[in-house]
Subunit: 366 residues, 2 copies
């Protein structure tokens, strides 16, 4: 029985547990705290930035993978030096950790992206703004997620605080019709498997809803998204699941917004809606096992995120009113605004599926 | 977050783990041994026949349920006396523990069964044989499973050893076209939900394969099976999942063979093939939460049991050759003849689905 070690005890590690139980894989989690979302599989609690902690954890595992992308490069490289099988590896993860490096590398690969520039000063940024209609998206290269570390600006002074700390990434503010996500899994030995392209609906910079497959996309957009994800997976040597967040621009372009090298919120719909879920596929990929079929189990799937908390009585109410809804609770204590669970419904008609998913999720509204 | 305690750490408890993780239920298992199939969720190791052990375990749980039906009545009643919510309760479980009591009670309920008699002596049995064409099935009232405790005889002397220990159950040897199983779940507050009727294929008295829904059954047979399971669930006050094993007799009758008051091998196909699996439904039922939709995710599903062991390299080979197959390994050490896992495939055409399931399972043949 293979042992997969996951660094990080969040909901992504938690959702690997059912897939591991199914396939007879032993999952071990290095969690941040005893009450982590993935506590059922936690065999160690410690700091993922501490080399000795991570090395000790890895010694008991056949493969190391991740709940998040925050493990420092020095720790990742120490793991590899110690002989651990690390998937995705440090050379790939670098591009999920540093957005400037990601933009540079994707440019080299010829992958379509928004116009971008590395800016080191207010003057650099003022120049970029002048070239792009007076507005831009500015990102800190590291540490951002769910809208954090991202500002839309029209004056370089609006990121003066960030510029003091080092270079920033400036990006064209893309006029887009919708946001898409293309999920792919790749094995160390090279085989890769795509899921159908999905639409992600963001509110306040955070994913609120996913529709699978993405409605109203053209064959050309679907092909473009598949080619982009495939190029990135192979070009960056990603192992495991890769999520590519995309803009479907108003001018018809499909452009890379962000990368995540792990199971991703945009893929939660695959748990209940795909022959092989992203969590099962991730485990199969990091073990270099054959990848599974990714055919949808129904024509449409809609996934709605739940924020804050999922009290038992609200779960029971949601299940009672929507018997086809799959409610997923992440076992977290209540905290306003934090992703606490999600609801998925699949079925034959998008209107009906979306109605049922939103109706079930509405039980968790405050 | 509700806490469900499961007595017994076998594969049925193991397969409750993914459902519990999904719904945010805390599952605790009282296992027989540290290396039990459900060890990931084991919070105690001890003897389920020991009242103090079971009572101590139950004190930390909101609801108690079971991986098997072997907990003694005295222990069950001590649990109830101590205020525990026990599902199914001792009054219902009695009929899954004692086949003579089951036959008596189902006769009272008017449920169709094979002819049967309580036999206490060789003379009783000789009389039963004379009335039934010289052959009969004889069962020990307690402790039988998977063909154990069952003999087909044509002479009372063939069970002389058993008769010395007490009364036996003699049953008509039913000429049947096929064996069926009807799964149902019932909440303590009374609501019940059926899954579609399935066919079970036995080899050597052990379930080898399940086809869902049961092919070549008439509407009348489906209605009869549904009525039987519904009558038994309500009549016996079963809470949680009830599996009713049935004969589709050659003369058209649908007759009860055996009962199981827990998730059952005939329902494993629901994990990958139903909107709500038997394991999720069981947890919802014992918590008295609303029951889920049981619509199949595809027209056909085939589940094949794997015996002995599922070595990693064979799992990888099966997944590689059949990308649509869902392989389930129970995390048990190898032992010839023991259920070690199962394979499920779902899809549109029965021939194709059965081919793929059998092809995947064939990788585990010795």
């Amino acid at each position: 029985m293979p042992v997969v070690g996951v660094i990080g005890g969040g909901q992504l590690a938690r959702m690997m547990i059912p897939a591991a139980v199914g396939l007879g894989i032993e999952l071990r989690v290095l969690a941040e705290a005893p009450d982590s979302s993935a506590r059922l599989a936690a065999t160690a609690v410690g700091d993922y930035r501490d080399e000795a902690t991570v090395l000790a954890f890895a010694r008991e595992c056949d493969v190391i993978t991740f709940d998040h992308e925050h493990v420092p490069q020095a720790v990742l490289r120490a793991l590899v030096a110690a002989g651990a099988a690390v998937h995705p590896g440090p050379d790939a993860l670098l591009y999920a950790q540093d957005k400037l490096m990601m933009r540079e590398r994707l440019s080299q690969l010829g992958v379509p992206q928004p116009d971008w520039a590395r800016v080191e000063s207010a003057d650099d940024l003022t120049g970029f703004l002048a070239d792009h209609g007076g507005r831009a998206v500015v990102k800190t290269p590291r540490g951002g997620y769910d809208g954090k570390g991202v500002r839309v600006i029209d004056d370089a002074a609006q990121v003066a605080d960030w510029l003091a700390d080092g270079p920033l990434l400036a990006e064209e503010l893309v006029a887009f019709e919708r946001e898409l996500a293309q999920l792919i899994a790749r094995r160390p030995s090279g085989a890769a498997q795509l899921w159908p392209l999905v639409e992600t609906v963001q509110r306040g910079g955070v994913c609120a809803e996913v529709i699978a497959p993405a409605p109203q996309t053209t064959d050309a957009q679907q092909r473009a998204a598949a080619e982009i994800a495939t190029s990135i997976a192979h070009g960056l040597g990603v192992t495991g699941v890769l999520a590519v967040e995309l803009f479907a621009a108003s001018d018809g372009r499909v452009l890379v917004n962000e990368l995540a090298m792990r199971p991703h919120n945009s893929g939660h719909v695959t748990i209940d809606g795909s022959v092989t879920s992203q969590f099962e596929q991730h485990l199969r990929a990091v073990l270099d096992w054959p990848l599974g079929d990714t055919t949808p189990l129904a024509p449409w799937g809609v996934m709605i995120n739940v924020f804050g908390s999922l009290p038992d009585e609200k779960i029971a109410a949601a299940l009672g009113h929507q018997p086809t809804a799959k409610v997923h609770a992440y076992g977290k204590g209540p905290r306003a605004g934090r992703k606490a669970g999600h609801v998925t419904v699949i079925g034959a008609e998008l209107d009906d599926v979306a109605y049922r998913a939103r109706a079930a999720a509405s039980h968790f509204d405050d």
